[in-house]
């Protein structure tokens, strides 16, 4: 009886947690279906006007531009972060060299920096260097914070991996390049995919770094924040839902491609 009661409590607890996590997200969806500036529920009128405005309205060009900017930043961050992280992870998880510990600390340190402070510091540095911030400087800012995280994700793969495989491949006649392509990269692949997904989502949703470093360009999170603060309308949750759907589609596409392309890479 005790076990049954325990299970019931656990089930209720799970239900509460799941509701608390997902209800706010649901409320964004509900808010986007209204036509009033004030959130009141249930709506008197259910409408897709906000979506119509976001996708085909007068301000259409502006909201699409938000997605483009965020996507451009996120993709650039993913490509650069993965390239940096693969070699960074190899350098600190595998190769033995003097100063490895210091290198690891330096690489990891930005993660522990409060992001607004990091953003402000980068803005000051950019200004001092005479660089006008735009979406490209935001790519740099995101990289400072995201590349270490992707490095961490990829290096976890390396700890559970027998480096003698590389020596074996070399011994079996592979060139250094072949060793990397045939052994190291496939072994790292799951780490690279999860690191890339992680990096994409972190950049796509980043506000504190973007606020300081995008200059005249605006990302989705920035726009959502400022429009909620000053000029709210159902357009805001509608754009948020579109952005969420877009990132969900991208994540799902990567997952499906991964599943189809690499069943034996496991």
């Amino acid at each position: 009886m005790g076990a049954r009661a325990g299970r019931a409590v656990a089930a209720v607890w799970l239900g509460v947690v799941v509701t608390l996590i997902y209800l706010p997200m649901l409320s964004v969806l509900l808010a986007s279906l209204a036509n009033t500036r004030y959130m009141r529920f249930p709506h008197r009128v259910w409408t897709l006007d906000a979506y119509r405005e976001a996708l085909f309205g007068v301000g259409q060009a502006d909201t699409l531009r938000l997605h483009q900017t965020s996507l451009a930043i996120a993709l650039a961050v993913v490509v650069l972060a993965v390239a940096i992280a693969v070699f960074g992870a190899l350098a600190f998880a595998r190769a033995r060299w003097r100063g490895r510990g210091l290198f690891r600390t330096l690489v990891m340190l930005p993660i522990f920096f409060p992001q607004p402070v990091l953003g402000l510091a980068l803005l000051l540095a950019l200004t001092a260097a005479g660089i006008t911030p735009d979406w490209r400087t935001a790519v740099f800012a995101h990289l400072v914070w995201i590349a270490p995280i992707v490095t961490l994700v990829i290096s976890i793969r390396l700890y559970g991996y027998d480096a003698a495989q590389e020596e074996a491949a070399f011994d079996l006649g592979a060139t250094r390049l072949q060793v990397f392509r045939e052994v190291t990269l496939p072994a790292l692949a799951p780490g690279i995919v999860s690191g890339a997904l992680f990096g994409f989502l972190l950049s796509w949703s980043n506000l504190p770094l973007s606020v300081f470093t995008t200059g005249a360009d605006t990302t989705l999170p920035e726009w959502l924040f400022s429009r909620t603060a000053t000029n709210y309308s159902p357009l805001v949750p509608a754009v948020a839902v579109i952005a969420t759907a877009a990132s969900a589609v991208i994540v799902a596409a990567v997952a499906v491609i991964w599943r189809l392309a690499g069943p034996r890479r496991g």
Partner: protein
Amino acid sequence: MTAGQDGRAFLVLDGLTRRFSGRPAVDGVSLSIPEGEFFTIVGPSGSGKSTLIRMLAGLERPDAGRILLRGADITAMPANRRPTCMVFQSLALFSHRSVGENIAFALKMRGVDAATRRARALELMELVRLPADYLDRPVTQCSGGERQRVALARALASDPEILFFDEPLSAIDYRLRKILEMEMKDLHARTGKTFLYITHSLEEAMVMSDRIAIMRAGRIVQIGPPREIYARPNSRFVAEFMGEVNVFAVRGGRIEGLDRPAAAQSGFLILRPEALRPLGPADHADVSFPARIETGYLLGSRSQLHLSALGRRLVAELPGAAAAELRPGQEGRWGFDLADAVVTPE
């Protein structure tokens, strides 16, 4: 066996040395291995045997010395160009590939087409006695013994002149190890290739090798056929490698504790446990003394007895039947013949 001009000049190591932060791990090793030999280097961990074999495979660069293969200097040749292959301690199988892909890896690197690779992989799987339906199985699903066979087949794929083995059986349980030792010896006979094997187990080396080198602190201390290493160890270190032995110090030309003249001025008298035997009233031995049995262990076909005699402890081993009536606490006369003992200088 097709040796070059001189069968003994197939693989020659000449003063091979490797230092790690100043300390020599391998210290001027010179060896000559004829083609087709099963040669084993035995040493405790830290003796430099791994570093030595890695230099031979081209994975480690020597600080001094030369490696000659059929008279050609291959010291500076990297591992991927050497006609040699290594079976690693961890086996180092490519964990994201199938059995067939592992075995045919060397061929893929050489640009051999897929059909030929597949055929060759199947051929090698038959050689190492892996069932053909393992071809597409992921290596991660293979058992310990199967993985061992995959590693062997993979190393043989490029038809290397020499196969190196870096303690591949050290992590395998006793029963399987015994089987694999026999398979290894059999494979050596069937392929006719030169095998260079390293292990910390002299027992393993005895079973498989044509010749054994004992390594200690970066140097080779004795080389010879297994029988000779066992019967005529040239030092206490080599003698103790095989298992428990009775050691008597020799000083001033006399064997301490026995009060007899020795064949050398100083060194050790080494007495294997099986050289000691209980003496009946009519039995004679060169050296005899009263002894008391302290403990006895059954080792399957043999029994090991711990004796207290001559004011010390001695170890004896007898065939099971001979030990049947001996019990701890029994006292009697024991002895050995000097011909069964070896005197070593160190």
